[in-house]
């Protein structure tokens, strides 16, 4: 994806972005390819939403009503979710997840929407930070979502069902095959293929899980200290409690 860029991009990172971008348009577990691309397009479009800007400035998002500046391709509840993730994720509450997100589009659909949005934000964030044009969204491919829910997924540590590490059945995908299964790895585990895909992207853009505490080895041009400082700075700017 970056062969013609004016700065060399690591081949593992280039491959990870190509893989992530191709997956965007493919049918997922709960959403078809077209819906996944519509989520990506809405997420990009949402950046100029006046309602969202007014809500972020209000003490509580729920006190400001109105209509989103939207492409209107998704259902209203889905548009609300995408805009909230884009503009005001830090103030999402358990009640909003239960009453608006899960009740509005379904639990699996919500978790997969989160994964699609996170993928687009990660790749767009990379190109934006470098001042490069964003990638064109891929054409959606046909096919139906599998709707395969892990049998042992349940409400446990999060506001959505998760699959505790080691509890996948033999015939199910292990969402933790390349990670340790800490809470952030469990967040999307209701949709195991999205968990794997997102943390593959994470490993390429940040560090593989196995390298996080290997302080004696530097894996990137940035040192461990520099990487962790930057990660912490971004988290602090976003007021992320986790």
């Amino acid at each position: 994806m970056y062969a013609k860029a004016d700065i060399t991009v690591r081949s593992d990172l280039d491959r990870a972005h190509a893989r992530a971008w191709r997956r965007l348009g493919e049918p997922g577990t709960w959403l078809d390819g077209r819906t996944r691309i519509e989520i990506a397009a809405e997420l990009r479009h949402a950046v100029d939403c006046e309602l969202c800007k007014a809500r972020t400035e209000a003490l509580s998002a729920s006190v400001v009503s109105g209509a989103h500046r939207s492409l209107n391709k998704l259902a209203p509840a889905h548009i609300e979710i995408v805009h909230r993730l884009r503009h005001d994720a830090a103030r999402i509450t358990q009640q909003w997840v239960e009453d608006i997100a899960v009740a509005g589009i379904g639990e699996g659909e919500y978790v997969e929407t989160l994964a699609v949005a996170a993928t687009v934000l990660a790749v767009d964030g990379f190109t934006d930070a470098l001042g490069w044009p964003r990638h064109a969204l891929p054409e959606p491919s046909g096919g139906e979502p599998s709707r395969a829910r892990p049998a042992n997924a349940r409400l446990d540590i999060a506001w959505v069902a998760t699959l505790p590490p080691g509890e996948q059945r033999e015939d199910e995908v292990d969402p933790y095959r390349d990670t340790s299964g800490v809470h952030i790895h469990q967040a999307l585990s209701l949709v195991p293929t999205e968990t794997i895909a997102f943390f593959e992207l994470d490993a390429a853009q940040y560090l593989p899980d196995s390298a996080l505490r290997d302080y004696g080895t530097e894996y990137r041009a940035l040192t461990h200290v520099q990487i962790e400082y930057l990660a912490a700075r971004v988290s602090a700017i976003n007021q992320c409690v986790y």
Partner: protein, 115 residues
Amino acid sequence: MLLRGSGEHNREALALEGIMPNAGMTSGFAGEDVLAELADAFYASDPKRLATARERLRDALGDDALVDAAGIIGIFDAVVRVADGTGVPLEDYKDEASAGFRPALGINRFHPDKP
């Protein structure tokens, strides 16, 4: 915690408060200023400031470091939303290990309603 761990490995006494925007202090390691400015400029909706921040980082740390930094900004802009959108709590062991410095950083004041 990983910042503290990596600093301890290098026997660097890092001031963790320096990660906070507008803290008025630095953590105390090479390249901190250009990394902080790239992150802050990314969220400032000011293309000119972001372009300047890129060039400063490139001059100070090199092209490969700029690519790494862009990757980290992008992925953490996403990871925070995964955490916020699902409500996953901090692990108990991380909560205990960070209890000593979280109040000083002001993290507990972000969203006291969250786990």
